[in-house]
Subunit: 191 residues, 2 copies
């Protein structure tokens, strides 16, 4: 998606440790209009697959997942990192490593909102190693739901997430595919 690539080129910052900082339009400050257009594009790419629910991980997955769900006309569920007191005692829980936190975090979903037979579209801000998304896949499978696709705003193709997701056997779409990044700048795949 040209608009997102241009925005990453303009406002993205490559930090040490292979971190792409997009805090000015995705992760801390959110460009609501851009996020809506990204959600519209992701919804269009998966429209034919009949998803019944979007699943994402708090915190930074919420914005793109919400706008995708809006354009598909379905609800979104975001996994929690800590169990709030409103959640039942029995939950679906898995662990995934956090790239930006440097430790394992919990992904928790209430069985109230992820049911057997649902067709789940997973949306997140980044597809890097695929570890968070694979955690969401495990949660959905534990619930007896079926994954129908995986979408991300930004893919770092050099971190192997697409390969890690291959066994899931579903379409994987990302709106901006970064082939390499460093002090020289950001190179998108296919350019």
């Amino acid at each position: 998606m040209r608009e997102l690539e241009e925005r990453i080129r303009l406002d993205g910052q490559v930090l040490a440790g292979g971190i792409l900082k997009v805090d000015s339009f995705v992760n801390h400050q959110v460009d609501a209009g851009l996020m809506d257009r990204c959600g519209q594009e992701l919804a269009a790419r998966f429209a034919s697959l009949g998803a019944t629910k979007v699943l994402t991980a708090e915190i930074s997955g919420i914005a793109p997942a919400l706008t995708t769900a809006l354009h598909l006309g379905i609800p979104v569920v975001y996994s929690r990192k800590t169990k709030p007191i409103t959640m039942p005692d029995q939950v679906f829980l898995t662990l995934a490593p956090s790239h930006t936190k440097g430790r394992m975090v919990e992904l928790i979903v209430s069985p109230e909102y992820l049911a057997h037979g649902e067709k789940v579209l997973i949306i997140d801000d980044f597809l890097a190693s695929g570890a968070t998304i694979l955690g969401l896949v495990r949660l959905a499978e534990a619930a007896g739901a079926r994954i129908i696709g995986v979408g991300a705003l930004i893919e770092k193709t050099f971190e192997g997430g697409r390969e890690a997701l291959r066994p899931v056997g579903v379409p994987v779409e990302s709106l901006a595919r970064i082939a390499s990044m460093g002090e020289d700048g950001i190179v998108f795949a296919g350019q």
Copy 2:
């Protein structure tokens, strides 16, 4: 807002300790269409005030704040509870008590995205005691920004938040005002 009140009556659950559980459409699972219409309504109520930025608190403020920002055509910033490694060392930080966590949580905003002279509209899911929103007010004031209004999806009028916000001296709007709730059900203000 009639639609939100009806949804609360239908799907909200009153738990022990004065907790209103709206996890099926606001807090864990999100009804994206409803959230968009709520954002549209909040945007309409504040449209004349010239906000330049929406400010909210992660996690459950993100959805209504994003849709409000979308309809106002401005960005949204959500305060973080932990400082990610992408954030500069010098930040705006304050503490606020969390109703659902039973302890103090940090509200952190990067000075990169909250600047002197900005006109800030604060949006959150709940207006209860007002403690979280007053924390956001302190962050915005520390940044030299001006608060122009406060909006919430659901107000518990019996928890005093509106009175606590009076010294801020800005319009306070909420889409569903709960006057009382208990085993007998939920009573909305003005009904």
